[in-house]
């Protein structure tokens, strides 16, 4: 079964889909290993990982789709992929959807920010007119070769205009053909509840630590009526902290030997990354 079909099945079944953020193929594999049913590919994380720069729209479609391909190839669960604003106008959206599908990504998330965009929880966002975004959603539907590919429409209007505008936009994008709606950065539980009461399509909630939305558990979000919850930056922030701590310690101690308890051991890492399995495969070819 294709990953897109798998995701569609999950959307149709009861229960919320929990998708932590991956910023490269290895973090995606760890998410899969930990037993999550889906991976969220984050532009914020990719921008940090690939070019060491903030999420202000510097990455190109080629870079996003290229890394998306690595991530999708590394796991056997659906990848929900951030496609920012589709990297331009309507025609760019068409190309983005096709490149993402070819990369093996199961869901494509498009947002109504202007080009270049910025992270949804940053200040100074700007959005395009809602009719223009509805046209982008229609372009994305048209571009989809696999009808199972899930289109997620995100609106950033909550921060830029107001909550009512965000709701109106979500409804419009749903009508234009989006399969899943994502109202970015609601500011209270009431707002989350209102979204769930108003929009009658699968809904995505975004849990960003220290972001603008209250942090709820998957169960709580499910009870409100959400179908997918993403934790886009959780892995990235954790890894960053761990790495900084370790590097500081190594610099200070002039050795890394005191801190091995905070590290995965060599044989364990090899096991995790699948060295044994791949060696076994290699042996199987040699009679």
């Amino acid at each position: 079964m294709s990953q897109a079909k798998k995701l569609r099945k999950m959307l149709a079944e009861p229960g919320i889909i929990r998708a932590p953020g991956a910023y490269d193929a290895w973090s995606a594999r760890l998410i899969e290993k930990a037993g999550f049913p889906a991976v969220y590919m984050t532009g914020y994380g990719l921008s940090a990982s690939l070019i060491g720069r903030p999420d202000i729209g510097l990455l190109s479609l080629t870079e996003m789709a290229g890394e998306g391909k690595n991530i999708a190839a590394a796991v056997d669960i659906p990848v929900i992929a951030d496609a920012d604003n589709g990297y331009g106008g309507l025609l760019n959206v068409v190309r983005t959807v096709q490149e993402y599908e070819r990369a093996g990504l199961a869901a494509i998330q498009l947002e109504d920010q202007v080009m270049p965009k910025r992270c949804g929880h940053m200040e100074g966002k700007q959005i395009i007119p809602k009719e223009e975004m509805a046209a982008k959603i229609r372009a994305a539907c048209y571009a989809r070769k696999d009808p199972d590919t899930v289109l997620i429409a995100r609106t950033d209007a909550r921060a830029v205009i107001d909550f009512d505008e965000a709701l109106a936009r979500a409804a419009l994008y749903a009508e234009a053909g989006a399969d899943v709606l994502f109202v970015e950065a609601p500011q209270s539980v009431e707002e989350l509840q209102t979204i769930a009461n108003t929009i009658h399509k699968p809904l995505l909630a975004n849990m960003v630590e220290h972001g603008k939305t209250p942090m709820l558990t998957g169960k709580e979000l499910e009870a409100i009526g959400f179908k997918i919850v993403i934790y886009p930056v959780t892995t990235l922030y954790t890894v960053t902290q761990a790495m900084m701590d370790m590097l500081k310690k190594v610099k200070q101690d002039d050795t890394s030997k005191h801190d091995t308890k905070h590290m995965v051991a060599f044989p364990d890492f090899n096991e995790m990354i699948g060295l044994d399995a791949i060696r076994e495969l290699e042996r199987s070819f040699m009679k």
């Binding site: 070019i51 202000i56 510097l58 190109s60 870079e63 990297y87 331009g88 025609l91 190309r95 270049p116």
Partner: protein, 292 residues
């Protein structure tokens, strides 16, 4: 000498610098063989060659850089590159300049169209405000690693707001660090002369663009030199000639099931190998062969 320095010298020389447009490494190599001192890689041609798509802002920074690097590696002459709009705002411009400079370009064109852009001679162009593009040019100038890198400030305002605005813009771009100026698509000889008389006093080299069947009258390099331009690009000539040649070839092959009637119009096996540089590789291989 770096290619950037070389390019600056060519601009300063009395003769006009003629830059044919190339669309890949091989076409760049042919231009060099034909004796040109520089080439220009345009987004229009790369979109066609790499993606088979029109120039509507499809090609990403990564794809342009990839193609540019191949072209720069294939030739020894300076390569002028098309940075389009910089693929976003001033921050994107900075990244584009860094990427292109690393790829080996000698000069970068940066235009004031709205992203996603259109080819300069297409209808329905839109431009960003002068102030916004001033900031982009400033960002580009400040992103240079080597001060010899040439930033070409291009304005598409002629078609949108008229020539006066285009000239004002060019002047503003020069003030904040454009090393060379390019007013796209003037519509008459008078307009071309006016560009030179207004902008020449700024002391920056001026670029003319000869697009066959475009909006600007077709002139020779000599004519343009007489008017006062320092460089001229013929961006699409190669890809149009290539398109025509291949269409003709494929039509004949489809119809006749053979290319025999066209054999004389093709390069021979030996000639092609010569052109692509096989003899040098054969000689090199010889040097590295282990002899017992």
């Amino acid at each position: 000498m770096t290619n950037k320095k070389k390019f600056r010298e060519l601009l300063a020389a009395p003769d006009i610098l003629v830059l044919p447009g190339v669309y890949d490494a091989f076409s760049a190599k042919m231009a060099e063989k034909a004796g040109f001192s520089g080439v220009i890689m345009g987004g229009y041609q790369v979109a066609a060659s790499m993606l088979g798509e029109p120039d509507v802002g499809y090609v990403s920074l990564t794809e342009m850089t990839f193609s540019l690097r191949n072209i720069c590696n294939a030739v020894t002459i300076p390569v002028v590159s098309d940075g389009d709009t910089g693929y976003g705002n001033a921050m994107n411009v900075r990244r584009m300049v860094r990427e292109y400079e690393n790829a080996g370009t000698a000069a970068i064109l940066l235009e004031d169209q709205v992203w996603p852009k259109k080819c300069g001679h297409m209808e329905g162009k839109k431009v960003i405000s002068r102030e916004e593009h001033v900031m982009k040019i400033k960002a580009a100038a400040e992103a240079k690693k080597d001060p010899d890198l040439v930033i070409i400030g291009r304005t598409d305002a002629r078609a949108v707001n008229g020539l006066d605005d285009a000239l004002d813009r060019a002047r503003s771009y020069a003030e904040v660090g454009a090393d060379m100026l390019f007013v796209e698509a003037p519509q008459s000889l008078e307009e071309m002369k006016r560009i030179v008389s207004v902008l020449k006093p700024l002391g920056k080299p001026l670029l003319a663009n000869m697009v066959e069947h475009g909006k600007t009258p077709g002139l020779t390099a000599n004519d343009l030199q007489d008017i006062g331009f320092d460089a001229v690009v013929f961006p699409v000539s190669a890809i149009y000639a290539m398109a025509q040649t291949l269409m003709k070839l494929f039509a004949v092959l489809k119809q006749n099931g053979t290319t025999a009637s066209l054999a004389d119009t093709m390069m021979s096996f030996t000639e092609f190998n010569q052109l692509i540089g096989l003899p040098a590789y054969t000689a090199m291989e010889e040097t590295y062969t282990v002899r017992s």
